[in-house]
């Protein structure tokens, strides 16, 4: 499938009134249609400001944002948006069903299709039917996340902006969100995901931008092999001697950095080296149950950046 940039950001700069440092400084990005694009970075990096600029809630001081060749202020663009905010605040008197119905109307949905559309979305996010007509002020954090996602999905948005969508959700909720994102991706929805849950971002996103100090430091493609050194943890099957593991590691220029009961940790230079290590272990009669990186790729990127900034 050939992807073309649906969302283009050029030299985006934003400084809040009364602040000397810019929240965003010359951000350049291209997000292709149908892509799941992740935004990561420390607190105050400018991720939410960036999302708010994309949504047209904030006016940049400089630069431009084009979505399908149109500016974000264009109502035709806004009609294609769905948004889950980080801070969920709804009117306390409204119930879940009415809230989603209200957003159905705001999104330009017809009155006739309202009930069907709302029920579809509420079922899709897994909100129990018993909770539909309860006041949102009685909802748990997880239920609020679900209702927020339901209102965002109203109107079949072409662009879905998710700001910490799984925060406060139980594991089944997290899995459900992941499933919904995958389904939407398959349908060609472009998803911009801002999250601190790096393992989630790595699993879901096609591309991930790392923001720091209002700038894009790097854009990672999680599916492409990493060139950075890292530690992998291997759960061994049966008793294996330390000496054997050291010997095998040396064969592939890896280093044994930890050894315990049925577990060993190796430092490898890059992803290719970890594949070589696993192959060498197998060939030398070392049987293992699983091999997982000590830190996932985005965590490594995150902490490497933290360390370098200090």
């Amino acid at each position: 499938m050939v992807l073309h940039p649906g969302l283009i950001v050029r030299e985006l700069t934003k400084t809040y009134h009364g602040k000397s440092l810019p929240a965003l400084s010359g951000v350049n990005l291209e997000i292709h249609s149908g892509e799941v694009f992740g935004l990561i970075g420390p607190n105050g990096a400018g991720k939410t400001t960036f999302l708010c600029c994309l949504l047209g809630l904030l006016k940049p001081d400089f630069g431009e944002i084009l979505i399908d060749g149109m500016y974000v202020d264009d109502l035709r663009v806004k009609a294609q948006f769905g948004y889950v905010p980080e801070r969920l605040q709804f009117e306390p008197w409204i119930n879940g069903f009415d809230l989603v119905s209200f957003h159905h109307a705001l999104a330009g949905g017809s009155r006739q299709a309202c009930k069907t559309s709302v029920e579809l979305r509420l079922n899709q996010v897994g909100l129990e039917e018993a909770a539909w007509f309860k006041l949102v002020k009685t909802y748990s954090r997880g239920m609020l996340q679900r209702i927020a996602l339901a209102q965002a999905l109203i109107g079949n948005p072409k662009y879905l902006f998710l700001d910490e969508p799984t925060s406060g959700m139980d594991p089944s909720g997290v899995m459900q969100v992941r499933k919904i994102i995958q389904e939407l991706k398959d349908k060609g929805t472009t998803i911009i995901l801002n999250s601190h849950q790096l393992d989630q971002v790595e699993r879901i996103c096609d591309k991930v931008a790392f923001l720091r100090g209002g700038k894009v430091q790097t854009i990672e493609v999680p599916t492409v092999g990493s060139e950075a050194s890292h530690v992998i943890r291997i759960r061994l099957m049966g008793e294996i001697s330390r000496e054997l593991l050291v010997k095998v590691a040396e064969l592939v220029n890896a280093r044994l950095v930890g050894f315990g009961l049925n577990e060993a940790k190796f430092e490898v230079a890059h992803d290719k080296a970890s594949a070589e290590l696993l192959s060498a272990l197998s060939q030398n009669g070392v049987h293992f149950i699983e091999a997982i990186p000590e830190q996932n790729r985005l965590e490594r990127l995150f902490f490497a950046s933290e360390t370098s900034s200090k």
Binding site: L75, A79, F102, A105, G108
Partner: protein, 248 residues
């Protein structure tokens, strides 16, 4: 935008303390009619009450949406900001006018039933128009101040300006400066529609004689102009608003 109109009405109705206050004022007014039985004080109160009802119901009309974050989510939808302002303003004006008219008609009913007094048509119609002028004018002021300040800061701003204005009048009186125009303009700005016609001050021909046609038009234009300025101010302020959930 009809759904936003009803949403605003629901927002107002669900602020229980305000509704209690409105009910208290509403009932007080009816008791007063019954006790005094005079139309004079009642008609004056009926239109003047429109100001209080509008403020009680509408304080924080837009500012509250900004503070609660409702507006952020709303504006990610295909909605033009000025339309949002106009719908909010209209919903508040409509509600305040309806409540005042209801109060007015119930009062008239009480007078007819208990005092047997008949109501002069021009007083009835005139007072209904006055209520409308007050409600729509005050609602435009609420919309403007509410767009400028978050939460219920609009009420604080209005009250402060009113006190300053009253202080200025006191000072002018003390200095023996009788600035009638200053007072009239000030009142029109802070209480749009204040310089209303008192339809209960005599026969219709006498009232109209006091008001030359030119004065009527001037008053109407001033009221419209002030309302337009306030609504433009509301749209301008909302357009410039930085709406972010960020940690800035």
């Amino acid at each position: 935008m009809i759904f936003l109109f009803f949403y605003t009405l629901k927002q107002i109705f669900h602020q229980r303390i305000r509704m209690y206050i409105v009910i208290v004022f509403f009932t007080y007014e009816l008791f007063e009619i019954y006790a005094e039985g005079t139309l004079g004080s009642f008609t004056f109160n009926a239109s003047f009450m429109a100001i209080w009802f509008t403020w009680i119901l509408g304080a924080g009309l837009i500012g509250r949406d900004v503070s609660t974050g409702t507006l952020h989510l709303l504006l990610t939808r295909p909605i033009i900001r000025y339309r949002y302002v106009l719908v909010k303003w209209f919903a508040l004006s409509f509600l305040a006018t309806t409540i005042c008219w209801l109060n007015f008609f119930l009062g008239i009913g009480i007078i007819r039933i208990f005092q047997g007094e008949s109501i002069v048509t021009h007083v009835l119609l005139g007072e209904m128009i006055n209520v409308l002028i007050y409600s729509f004018g005050t609602a435009s002021l609420v919309a403007a101040f509410s767009s400028l300040l978050p939460g219920h800061g609009d009420l604080g701003l209005w009250f402060s300006l009113f006190l300053i204005f009253q202080g200025a009048i006191q000072l002018l009186i003390y200095l023996k400066i009788y600035a009638t125009m200053f007072v009239k303009v000030g009142l029109e700005i802070l209480l749009p529609g204040y310089n209303f016609v008192d339809y209960n001050s005599g026969k219709l021909s006498e009232i109209l004689a006091k008001w030359s046609g030119f004065d009527m038009y001037l008053f109407g234009l001033a009221w419209l102009a002030i309302m337009l300025v306030y609504l433009s101010l509301a749209c301008w302020a909302l357009n410039r608003k930085e709406l972010s959930y960020g940690s800035h």
